[in-house]
């Protein structure tokens, strides 16, 4: 690792913690951001000559604090305010030695994911303030122009200040719902990196790793939350398959056709360990159930040898916790594998009209019809799915399923 890469890694790792400490001290997002930028510029110059300090986080916090005080003093002088006499605003000579920075990242996470901010803003703000991703990187990841993203972040910071969005861990009566929102943001960041097949590969991988890193931080800060561990387990287990999801041509590879020898064993092992820790807390939830499903896939030597009966039962549990079309369609797949395509089709028929516009419904229906020998209806379902799907990689995958059926029909 070159010195520049090392500095960049430190910046990313320390960004959220230092920024959180600054916001806690000065209660001002913009001032904290500006002061941290000053400190980062300063660090780039100083560390190249003097080497990286023993505790870079403390170094950055101390320098940024001084810069923030300088900025306040400058403004205070301009306004001829007495603020400059505030004893709180003096430099502490021993600050440089301090190794303990109070960890305020949890408060920062809850502020960034406050429901009064739009979901896309919550995601961008979390990546920027806690993940230390630059505006340029976030804009690229979400395929929006950089000025648009910069404006979105600036508006969010203004709203936090002007609308009085609190900077704290929510009180106990609000905590469950706010924690759910926070986990949802982390999972969205992960999925943005995992599911999208278009865009820039390195930045997509970065999103997956960042979501996993944020979730680890959250576990360290809230060790008693079973669902937070469930989410980490789920992401690790998904991530273990990331390298086998696309072939050389960039085409999507189904779970059943992936090269299981290339799945990341260490991520699977850790995922299962974390899931066990979550289950031991005896507070079940949808992330833990999804992680359990994913772990059964991860442990199976082949698609056929997968424990589909247990997976079908877990999907039933999941459907009770969070009823949705996605869950029902996945349950139909598992039931079809466990008990045959007819049983899977029966579940799909039960969904009625509400599934008509949902393309995965037609994908699964087409596959089950094909497997039960109803080729004409299968072709119709594939065509319906292709018409509804707007992801090019998935569409071409469907076309490759459909072509042999049409050829078989014309022979």
């Amino acid at each position: 690792m070159t010195a520049a890469e090392q500095v960049e890694r430190i910046f990313r790792e320390e960004h959220g913690r230092v920024l959180a400490a600054l916001i806690s001290r000065f209660e001002d997002f913009d001032l904290a951001e500006d002061a941290l930028q000053d400190a980062l510029v300063n660090a780039l110059e100083r560390w190249q000559g003097d080497g990286i300090p023993e505790n870079p986080g403390a170094w950055l916090t101390t320098v940024a604090r001084r810069r923030a005080i300088d900025r306040i003093r400058r403004t205070a002088t301009l306004e001829r305010s007495l603020l400059v006499l505030d004893p709180q605003l003096s430099y502490d000579e021993h600050e440089m030695d301090e190794t303990q920075i109070p960890d305020d990242r949890l408060k920062l996470m809850f502020t960034c994911c406050h429901p009064s901010l739009a979901l896309e803003t919550q995601i961008a703000l979390t990546l920027h303030t806690l993940g230390g991703l630059t505006t340029h990187e976030i804009a690229r990841a979400f395929l929006v122009p950089e000025p648009t993203m910069a404006q979105r972040l600036a508006r969010a910071r203004a709203k936090i200040r002007n609308a009085g969005i609190p900077y704290r861990v929510p009180p106990i009566d609000l905590l469950p719902e706010r924690l759910d929102a926070l986990l949802a943001v982390i999972y969205l960041i992960f999925n943005e990196g995992y599911s999208a097949t278009s865009g820039d590969e390195p930045i997509r991988k970065e999103l997956c790793l960042e979501a996993i890193r944020l979730c680890r931080v959250l576990i360290a800060l809230m060790p008693g939350s079973a669902e937070t561990r469930g989410l980490l387990a789920l992401m690790l287990l998904h991530d273990s398959r990331r390298g086998t999801r696309l072939d050389e041509a960039g085409e999507l590879v189904l779970l059943s056709e992936q090269d299981r020898s290339r799945w990341d064993r260490s991520e699977i092992r850790e995922g299962i360990e974390v899931l066990d820790e979550a289950l031991a807390l005896k507070d079940p939830g949808p992330y833990q159930v999804q992680a359990a499903i994913s772990s059964l896939h991860a442990e199976a030597p082949t698609a056929e040898a997968t424990d589909w009966h247990t997976i079908a039962a877990l999907y039933k549990t999941l459907a009770m916790m969070t009823p949705s079309l996605v869950v029902e369609v996945n349950r139909a797949v598992a039931v079809a594998m466990a008990e045959g395509p007819q049983e899977g089709l029966r579940i799909l028929e039960g969904l009625g009209d509400r599934a008509k516009g949902y393309y995965p419904f037609h994908v699964v229906r087409a596959d089950l019809l094909r497997r039960s020998g109803q080729l004409e209806q299968a072709i119709e379902s594939y065509e319906r799915a292709i018409a509804l799907c707007d992801n090019p990689a998935e569409r071409s995958h469907l076309q490759r399923q459909l072509d042999p059926l049409i050829n078989a029909g014309t022979k």
């Binding site: 406050h114 009064s116 002007n162 609308a163 009085g164 969005i165 609190p166 929510p170």
Partner: protein
């Protein structure tokens, strides 16, 4: 911080409140105001008469234009407000949830500028 809680509802969807309904509704409002007073957050509140009674004034190119009705035709109309002193947005949102309009209309929570300075 001072927050204005603006209450919106579709006036025509709830036209005339029947006597018995009002008898149920009124204690709800009174209880809410008592609760706000007891918590020390209530600065002011009032209801607006229907938009049918509204007149809008605009000055364009130096000419005053006076028109009948609200500033814009919207699905839900402003029907009243609460002005509250709260410590942060979460506290203001909690009060907004208790306002009956939240159930059949909307409550918009807006901080006052003076609270920012």
């Amino acid at each position: 911080m001072k927050y204005m809680l603006l209450m919106y509802a579709n006036e025509s969807a709830v036209p005339e409140t029947p006597e018995d309904q009002q008898a149920v509704a009124l204690p709800v409002w009174l209880a809410l105001m008592e609760e706000m007073k007891a918590a020390g957050v209530l600065l002011s509140n009032n209801g607006l008469s229907p938009v049918a009674n509204a007149t809008t004034v605009r000055i364009r190119d130096g000419k005053t234009l006076i028109t009948d009705g609200p500033f814009a035709e919207t699905h839900e109309q402003l029907g009243g407000f609460f002005l509250l002193e709260c410590k942060d947005l979460d506290e203001a949102l909690r009060w907004a949830e208790k306002i009956p309009h939240a159930k059949y209309g909307s409550v918009e929570v807006r901080p006052l500028w003076s609270a920012v300075a």
